[in-house]
């Protein structure tokens, strides 16, 4: 009779509760506070004189002010992005020279000397090696600069201020203010962002935060945006302005992501996820001098290498797939060309093209390798000679100008670049995030919504932008 074990105790407790009435909880809390205060006062000696001004409070007054809060946020983000763009050029060129100009021909030479079958050489060296080398040289430098800078801001204590500034906007959108924190985590990694929604208690608001986390530009997508903007936007302005222009455009994309987060939260909270907004109090932690070396270490280990490793794991098989679809032919034409031709009309409708869509299909497991895949496929269909060694070979390019030239030869315009950037921002979350969403929500239905809603929004927005662009261009 387990149910009867504590019955007597409970009866006594209930009777006593009637005696004390409703203020028992307050009495208890007050007793604890009184003790805590007394003990703390005995132990702590405060400085005789209050410092004339409190640095933390002064900083907070500025960075969370109505007037300066948002400009400072945008400025901080632009500076971080600008440093990333400016700083990645040199190491990027260096990596190209080593990995692709030097090691790649060397490997080819070895293959020839050893007498490896052409298709093995193709899959391994032209496919797997070049794809991974590409990922390293394109992705590593921006990551190695961006992540430590971002982590320094986090360590310093700036993220809660960002959350504080955005809190009001989220309330207006019918979402929980803490969603600004899970979104801030999403700027690092969407899967981490989805996990961090556990800080939101209300299931309704938690779902909104999970579904919209995708719109926070993540680790895997920052470098793609930076590279795309560098190639297309950077080329439009004089070189001394390029860094600033690229930073502005990438920041604009990130801000668009925040606006979409708010917009979709608003739409969800007024339709399928109706309900009251809960309030919460956010404690602004003290500013702490960032530990530079430790931050460098952890951001390199936790963020840079983790993301790079993930990209490499997915890039290696993708490289093989790209080589195969470029070299296996049906009726004398490679499979890749068939697929690209098939998807091209649809792609053009969205301001994209067939190559980009195929690249997306090949890169479904990891968005990080979209750009290398696009470049490889572009060379294939445009049949540019003298750049690559043959069909499906990722070519050697040691400057962004050359990359731009290839893409323009493949029919890319500024619209294509902008559409791609928008699509990269909006389209579905990566496989890890989708899996995490399933684990967190335990619901197939909401996981499907999380995966498909952004995809259709991506199609819709790029379609709209392309139509308007062409309309304006046509005048």
């Amino acid at each position: 009779m387990t149910s009867a074990i504590g019955a007597g105790v409970l009866a006594t407790a209930t009777a006593m509760r009637w005696e004390f009435g409703g203020n028992l909880h307050e009495q208890l809390v007050e007793a604890i506070y009184a003790d805590a205060t007394r003990i703390a006062q005995r132990a702590v000696t405060r400085p005789d004189q209050k410092p004339r001004f409190d640095l933390d409070r002064t900083i907070d007054r500025v960075v969370t002010s109505r007037l300066w809060g948002f400009p400072i946020m945008l400025l901080a983000l632009s500076v971080v992005l600008w440093l990333t763009v400016i700083g990645s050029n040199i190491p990027s060129d260096l990596l190209f020279t080593v990995l692709i100009d030097t090691i790649y021909p060397f490997l080819k030479q070895i293959a020839v000397n050893v007498g490896v079958a052409w298709w093995i050489e193709g899959i391994l060296i032209d496919g797997v090696y070049l794809a991974t080398a590409w990922v390293v040289s394109v992705m590593l430098p921006p990551m190695a600069i961006f992540f430590p800078l971002f982590t320094l801001l986090e360590d310093f204590g700036y993220l809660p201020r960002v959350a504080f500034n955005l809190d009001r906007a989220f309330k207006v959108a019918g979402a929980h203010g803490k969603q600004s924190l899970s979104m801030a985590m999403g700027f690092g990694c969407n899967a981490a962002g989805v996990i961090s929604t556990a800080i939101i208690d209300s299931p309704r608001e938690k779902l909104i935060a999970i579904i919209t986390n995708n719109f926070a530009l993540c680790n895997g997508r920052w470098p793609t945006q930076i590279v795309l903007a560098t190639i297309f936007v950077g080329a439009l302005v004089p070189s001394y302005l390029a860094g600033a222009a690229v930073a502005l455009v990438v920041m604009g994309t990130a801000v668009l992501g925040v606006l979409l987060t708010l917009l979709v939260s608003w739409a969800l909270s007024r339709s399928v996820l109706k309900g009251e907004v809960s309030t919460f109090s956010l404690e602004l932690p003290p500013y702490r001098p960032p530990r530079i070396l430790q931050t460098l270490y952890t951001s390199v280990i936790d963020r840079t290498l983790k993301v790079l490793w993930r990209a490499l794991i997915f890039a290696a098989p993708a490289g093989a797939v790209i080589w195969l679809i470029s070299n296996l032919t049906i009726g004398g034409t490679p499979i890749a060309v068939h697929t690209i031709d098939f998807l091209n009309p649809f792609g053009l409708l969205l301001g994209l093209n067939g190559v980009i869509l195929v690249a997306y299909i090949v890169a479904i497991p990891a968005n990080e390798i979209v750009i290398p895949t696009i470049l490889m496929l572009t060379v294939l269909v445009t049949g540019i000679t003298g750049v690559g060694e043959g069909a499906g070979v990722m070519f050697e390019l040691n400057s962004e100008a050359a990359t731009g030239a290839i893409l323009r030869a493949g029919g890319w315009t500024l619209l294509t670049a902008i559409s791609t950037m928008i699509f990269v921002l909006i389209h579905n979350p990566c496989s890890t995030t989708i899996f995490t969403t399933y684990k967190v929500t335990g619901s197939k239905r909401w996981t499907t919504v999380t995966a498909l809603l952004p995809l259709f929004m991506g199609f819709a927005v790029t379609f709209g932008v392309a139509q308007i662009w062409r309309l304006v261009e046509g005048w």
Partner: protein
């Protein structure tokens, strides 16, 4: 003296200071001798302490609430293996958010051998509020007086010895971000775990006479019903407060399991 400075030369021979004694085990926790829980207010550096002791890299960040579920890791010190549990930060154990439930259930039913309460030396009053509640749940507590570097920066002097006397449990000043005081912390945990140091934790005073009597009577009844229960007074307080979760475990007799577990530990034969 209020803040412990660098160890004097005499300390160097002390086993506590032999850094080689500490073996970070990461998540490699097959069997362990002691379970240590890390509790504390949000953003006081629990995860930093956790990482420093286990060698793991739980994401730390300067904002409250980033540890959302409990993280586990381990370390070895003086031939003993310790399993360390990083609990989500909470301000109190009295309300019903998800974070608090995780922390509270673990302290009550996970039955840690030692609970380290990480408190922010700069916000001692508010942090002690939680520490006092934890000390109602379990006797074996070590206070990790963290963020001493910030306290120094703000000119605060915190008398850790007086605090230890008032609270009746060991108090170790640390700056976990810079690795200061962690050797002493590991030593204090060992002392409490092995019973070398006996805690006589402070009990909440200032209860009104009637309430005090009620708590005493109900605690006696709880103890009679569940002999060997280590924290009957806390159970009584929670029942008086109308805690639904506590009512359930009393009703179902789950609380008895807790008492039995303690019995087994108390009497290994």
């Amino acid at each position: 003296m209020t803040i412990r400075d660098l160890p004097s030369s005499g300390c160097v021979d002390c086993p506590v200071h032999l850094a080689g004694n500490l073996l970070k085990l990461g998540v490699d926790m097959k069997d362990w001798d002691f379970v240590v829980a890390l509790a504390g207010n949000p953003n006081t550096g629990k995860s930093t302490v956790f990482n420093a002791l286990t060698g793991l890299r739980q994401h730390t960040g300067n904002w409250p609430g980033k540890t959302v579920a409990r993280a586990e890791g381990g370390y070895e010190f003086g031939d003993k293996r310790y399993k360390l549990i990083d609990l989500p930060g909470t301000y109190s154990l009295l309300s019903t958010t998800q974070d608090e439930e995780i922390a509270r259930d673990f302290l009550l039913f996970g039955r840690p051998d030692v609970t380290v309460v990480v408190v922010d030396a700069n916000r001692l009053e508010r942090n002690l509020n939680l520490a006092l509640q934890v000390m109602e749940v379990t006797d074996r507590v070590v206070i990790c007086l963290n963020l001493m570097d910030e306290a120094r920066r703000h000119g605060l002097q915190v008398d850790d010895r007086r605090l230890a006397r008032d609270l009746g449990v060991p108090v170790v000043p640390t700056s976990a971000r810079y690795g200061e005081g962690l050797d002493e912390l590991v030593g204090a945990i060992e002392e409490v775990a092995t019973g070398q140091a006996v805690c006589k934790p402070h009990r909440i005073e200032y209860l009104s006479g009637a309430l005090k009597a009620a708590v005493r009577q109900l605690a006696a009844e709880v103890e009679a019903r569940f002999p060997g229960l280590p924290n009957a007074r806390w159970v009584a307080l929670r029942l008086l407060d109308g805690d639904a979760r506590m009512r359930n475990v009393v009703q179902s007799g789950e609380l008895g399991e807790l008492a039995r577990q303690v019995d087994i530990v108390g009497d290994p034969a």
